[in-house]
Symmetry: C2
Subunit: 185 residues, 2 copies
């Protein structure tokens, strides 16, 4: 069994940018290699840790701090974590980075509001543009892009598989995940 090295792939990006899609591919690949992994998706966390919180800056910050608290607990015990919440505010992401040190790997899942709105997988942008959803990141609420993320996934140009492959390559290079077995290459 490989050494267990905890880390947190901290996805950040607009709704519809591709965070969940890419995280699912990376999760599958890690499991295929016999690695542990936990995905802390925005919706899962809101349900289990943050019910009752809204989308004001204060409530968003609290939600993200809770995700960081749990990601830290897991990753410092050797468990790979993927967080896939919008996490729009730079300051709170930087707090998470400070807590986790070099276990924190920031992944900017980048796509413009226009492209995300075109995709509109959950139909949320339409409602946001009509004003039916308030405080919607990128429309009526700010998104602060990370200035120095470890990795950028340009999902307007890259397919999700390409973005995922880039992340896997990064993790391999840092020797944070087991190598793929020769037979499967």
């Amino acid at each position: 069994m490989a050494d267990e090295k905890g880390f947190t792939l901290w996805f950040t990006g607009l709704s519809g940018a591709g965070k969940t899609t890419i995280s699912e591919i990376v999760e599958r690949e890690l499991r295929a290699r016999g690695s542990k992994v936990e995905v802390l998706d925005g919706d899962v966390v809101r349900e289990n840790l943050s019910k009752g919180l809204g989308f004001s800056k204060e409530d968003r910050d609290t939600n993200i701090r809770r995700i960081a608290f749990v990601a830290d607990l897991l990753s410092r015990n050797g468990v790979p974590v993927i967080t896939a919440a919008i996490s729009p505010y730079r300051e709170i992401r930087d707090e998470a980075r400070e807590t986790m040190g070099d276990r924190f790997i920031e992944v900017f899942v980048k796509a413009s509001v226009e492209v995300c709105a075109e995709r509109d997988v959950k139909g949320l942008y339409e409602k946001a543009f009509k004003g039916e959803i308030k405080e919607f990141t990128g429309v009526s609420d700010p998104y602060e892009a990370p200035p120095n993320p470890e990795i950028v996934c340009h999902t307007e140009q890259e397919a999700p598989e390409e973005s995922a492959q880039k992340l896997i390559a990064y993790l391999e290079e840092r020797e944070l995940i087991p190598a793929r077995e020769a037979a499967t290459v």
Copy 2:
């Protein structure tokens, strides 16, 4: 290195019964054996996951469900966890047991209200009896003792070290922790 087996020592008992004291001894012993361990103390969790929640039944339940969510995440990834919150309601503890299956080990830290109030380590019982603290478990709020805990620590009769030793012996018997090295016996 020993196999890593996740489990949750789920302490339950009144304020002042000895949960934190015993958990600290067990934590130290596990670390001395090279085992991982995370302690989710009531106060730590309220600070990091449940700020803003009060002590109504509903808020207590939410707090305990969050502890269970995190304990499950850790223990299913091979990390030993100790939770040390009062967790007064049977139904929610049973939910946690259902989620974690045989990883869930209920530890009833047992002492009467009278004895806990005599100890009154944090001065809380005095305030509760005067009515300065509302909804205080055992005084003005219910405590539902577990009918079938895996382990009972009778802290009116046992020293904290004895209680801790009982827990360690139980974990050894179930082969959930590394044996103590011969040299240290």
